[in-house]
């Protein structure tokens, strides 16, 4: 079956257009990560203590607790520390919160870490997975869309090149050298 050039071009275009925002974020944050030492990574730490009658048990109670104390992020870890106190850790792109329950005094201690602007941006890059509040689920969906789009517009781009400029020596040189470099890297990693 021969796919018309116009259709491939549309797929290439729409795959890219649907993911521009996330792609630009990835390019900017990758730059921040590569040049890690050029940016501020100072973390601000805040601790506050609040009264709490009892530790929530049901998902509904936990949601109410998170809303009441305006805890940002999604649950990443929960358990009991060395002192026998229950704790929960939440993480967002901009920072994290650890809530430790002091059941003897009916208090909860919040240890809040706030990242620098550069780290908060990198934090967006590192979000993944379908868990947490609705915005995290939507973002995970966007990530899947970006992943499929990356694959789609790389493949459709190569197909379009074959249809448009397959006699271009420069294009062949770039494509073949990219292929050799990429797969030689993988082979060296696998067999060195």
């Amino acid at each position: 079956m021969k796919i018309p050039y116009v259709l491939i071009k549309k797929i290439h275009l729409y795959a890219c257009l649907s993911t521009v925002a996330v792609l630009v974020m990835f390019i900017v944050t990758s730059y921040l990560m590569i040049h890690h030492n050029s940016f501020d990574h100072e973390m601000a730490k805040v601790e506050k203590t609040e009264g709490v009658n009892e530790i929530p048990t049901t998902p509904h109670e936990w949601r109410a607790f998170e809303n009441q104390y305006q805890i940002k992020g999604r649950l990443t870890r929960e358990g009991v520390n060395q002192d026998g106190e229950s704790f929960r850790e939440y993480a967002s792109a901009a920072g994290s919160t650890r809530a430790t329950f002091k059941s003897e005094t009916n208090k909860v201690v919040f240890a809040i870490n706030l990242k620098s602007k550069a780290d908060a941006l990198i934090g967006i890059h590192r979000q993944r997975g379908y868990s947490g509040a609705w915005q995290y689920t939507l973002y995970a969906l966007l990530l899947d869309l970006v992943a499929v789009s990356l694959i789609t517009f790389a493949i459709t781009g190569v197909i379009m090149w074959f249809k448009l400029l397959k006699n271009s020596k420069t294009a062949w040189a770039i494509f073949v050298s990219g292929f050799i470099y990429f797969f030689l890297t993988i082979i060296l990693l696998l067999y060195w």
């Binding site: 649907s18 925002a21 630009v24 590569i34 973002y139 970006v146 694959i151």
Partner: protein, 191 residues
């Protein structure tokens, strides 16, 4: 600049980054769905002999072993297990883990190699910056490729958008994809 020249430039940029994009596409799916892609079985075992300097601390001894055996990889200190006669450690990188069992008295070493597999290696490139102890020079050039690929991807993206806006956009496309752009930005701000 002529349209044909812009298209060629967009194409060259795209061809340069296409393998990088494919790897990142695959890796993003693996990350987002928290898939386990590493092979965990020992595929090869070999023996060797090394010099043991008793004055070295654990980190220095591990580095010395890696250097003497010529094994590429990082040495995670939390994997060190040492007693009076044996020192067990791992040398690991994105494509392979080597488990070392070292006899501190005789200097005899048993190396169990666990290759992680092609998919895990492809996925590992997502986090790779070209810096692995004992790596050949060629792998160190990855940081240059990575930087260039990002730069070229950005140029390719800007050129593609420019060509679309200048020559072929339709109002409904602008509204739908412009809206999706703003929506995506809002979602990212809420994370």
């Amino acid at each position: 600049m002529k349209k044909s020249l812009l298209i060629k430039l967009h194409l060259y940029c795209g061809l340069f980054t296409c393998f990088y994009l494919l790897a990142f596409g695959v890796s993003s799916i693996i990350l987002n769905h928290k898939m386990e892609v590493d092979n965990k079985t020992v595929k090869k075992t070999w023996h060797s002999q090394v010099q043991i300097d008793p004055n070295l601390n654990d980190n220095e001894l591990a580095e010395s072993l890696g250097d003497q055996l010529g094994i590429m990889g990082w040495l995670p200190p939390w994997q060190f297990k040492k007693d009076s006669t044996n020192f067990n450690l791992q040398v690991t990188h994105l494509a392979k883990t080597s488990e070392l069992e070292v006899n501190l008295i005789s200097g005899a070493v048993i190396v169990n190699e666990i290759p992680k597999g092609f998919l895990a290696t492809l996925h590992g490139l997502h986090f790779f910056n070209g810096r692995i102890p004992n790596a050949p020079f060629f792998l160190k050039t990855w940081i240059v490729y990575q930087w260039l690929a990002l730069f070229v991807l950005f140029i390719s993206l800007v050129l593609g958008l420019w060509l679309w806006l200048k020559y072929s956009y339709r109002t409904w496309e602008l509204l739908v994809f412009g809206g999706l752009f703003i929506f995506s930005c809002l979602i990212m701000l809420l994370l």
